[in-house]
Amino acid sequence: MNEKELEQKANAIRKDIIEMLMEAKSGHSAGPLGMADVFTALYFGGVVKYDAKKPDWEERDMVVLSNAHICPVWYATLAHAGFFPKKELKTLRKLGSNLQGHPYRQSVPGIESSGGSLGQGLSIACGMAYAFYKMDKKNNWVWCLTSDGEHDEGQIWEAAMFAGKYKLFNLTQIMDRNNIQIDGYTEDVMPLEPLKERYESFGWHVLEVDGHNIEEIIDACQKSKTIFEKPTLIIAHTIPGKGVDFMEWQYSWHGKTPCAEEGQKALKCLRTLDGKIKSEDE
């Protein structure tokens, strides 16, 4: 996919997220919208190795979503990538659905580990990376997505120490640095900075990217695969609620769902790329 196609894909994923949330009438809005470009880069920018027709393919990369509450973006991305039919997206959070409120590995192809309690995913990713690199000498890569807010959890730092000690170079963590969490801005709730220096002191290589520049995200991911004997953290600076003007930067939209009217407004925002495309008004 070229740059334009990737941007269109991210936008299509954002629309699906809004429609899923409107249908479900519950779920998180800001995080999934903010990470649509990162997920597009991972699955459509040639970063993650996968075969949607063979989700158990031995050579596949592992993707672990530690901040599992943003799963609508993962579900939409996996559906676009062909892991399951797109029509299933509308079942999000409904009784009997494969698409649980937080991901359940037994019901969704492409999801390697269930999650929902913050701070746990990085440890799991470490275990996978350890097995591939230290024990089986295999080339499968491990991609772990985390949020900035979940870095309040002590377990994240236990895992960060572990990855540094064992030089898990085959692990790339992508942190959604959107600066918000439920109670407010991350630096007000519990200051996390200096994140780069903290991770470097734990033995990680750290890259920072504009989390909405898909080319930049792809480049950083590819670069992370060239780093010798160190795990890599990519701090993706994102705008929570990206693409929907009235949600952007609003921490009140972290765990909120658009009502019908807000949803229509949001979809219009995405269709017109936040007013840049005027044809709709004509």
Binding site: M62, V64, Y104, R105, Q106, E112, S113, S114, G115, G116, S117, G119, Q120, G121, L122, S123, I124, A125, C126, G127, M128, A129, Y130, A131, F132, K134, M135, D136, N140, G154, Q155, E158, A159, M161, F162
Partner: protein
Amino acid sequence: MDLIKNVYQKEKLEQKPTRDGYGEGLVELGKKNPNIVVLGADLTASTRCDWFQKEFPDRFIEVGIAEQNLVGVAVGLSLVGKVPFASTYAVFCPGRNWDQIRISVAYNEANVKLTGAHAGVSVGEDGATHQGLEDIAIARCLPNMTVIAPCDMIETKKATIAAGEMVGPAYLRFAREATPVFTTDQTPFKIGRAEIFREGKDVALIACGPTVHEALVAANELEKEGISAAVVNNHTIKPMDEKTIIEIAQKTGAVVTAEDHQVMGGMGSAVCEVLSKNHPVPIEMIGVLDRFGESGKPDELMEVFGLTAKYIKEAVKKVLNRK
């Protein structure tokens, strides 16, 4: 039942810590299955994982004093085909890291084996903080979790090997102090099957862990007083062998449970859950009664908490009066 000779003469029995059985079981498993991995959290020697570490250094992972990460790393290993054993004390696992066990292990149906050493009062002098008296309760309430409390060193070895060969999350608890070795290599052991170690018709003593031996001693002494007591080694607390438990209750009409754990939520509670629904009989429960432990020699503590044969006999008399 195939038990050791002199089983009722405690002073003549060899005493070995159950954790030694864990160490031996791990080495045997490691030889059979190259996917067995052991994780230690700065308690490698005292959980006997060092025996495995010496044989298979490439398959031993030190995570430091970090029990939450211990479990997470184990889950990651299991999701790519390894069979990890995560080892520390019961107070820390499942104590310290219960949410990680709930989500990363149990909900994930990860093939992870959790082991809690130094469970019960047998850690003695270390006192309340290190005596794992709640681990059965918090492990058995988790969906998908198998919970096993073997009765001696030989059974611990069998349980370790069986846990490594089954697929799915399991928790095994061990004691610290040496306890009588009274089973043999021939004593049957199968996860999910309670073993009747002694037949009896007046009352059934249902026990797990080192208190199984106390129950046997109690039954032997009760016989001299004309009371016929059956003894059941109920090592698998979950999934419980409901059939055996119901049948023995039907046969005897009275039950005493005994365990080295809080009565609240423990093995005895699980027995009550089965019997109250299927075949209610009078039950007395031996265990720790809603209090923390304290420092002391393990046998002194067994006395203070009322976990010995003497107290089991008293409970039998009480339960027989209620029949």
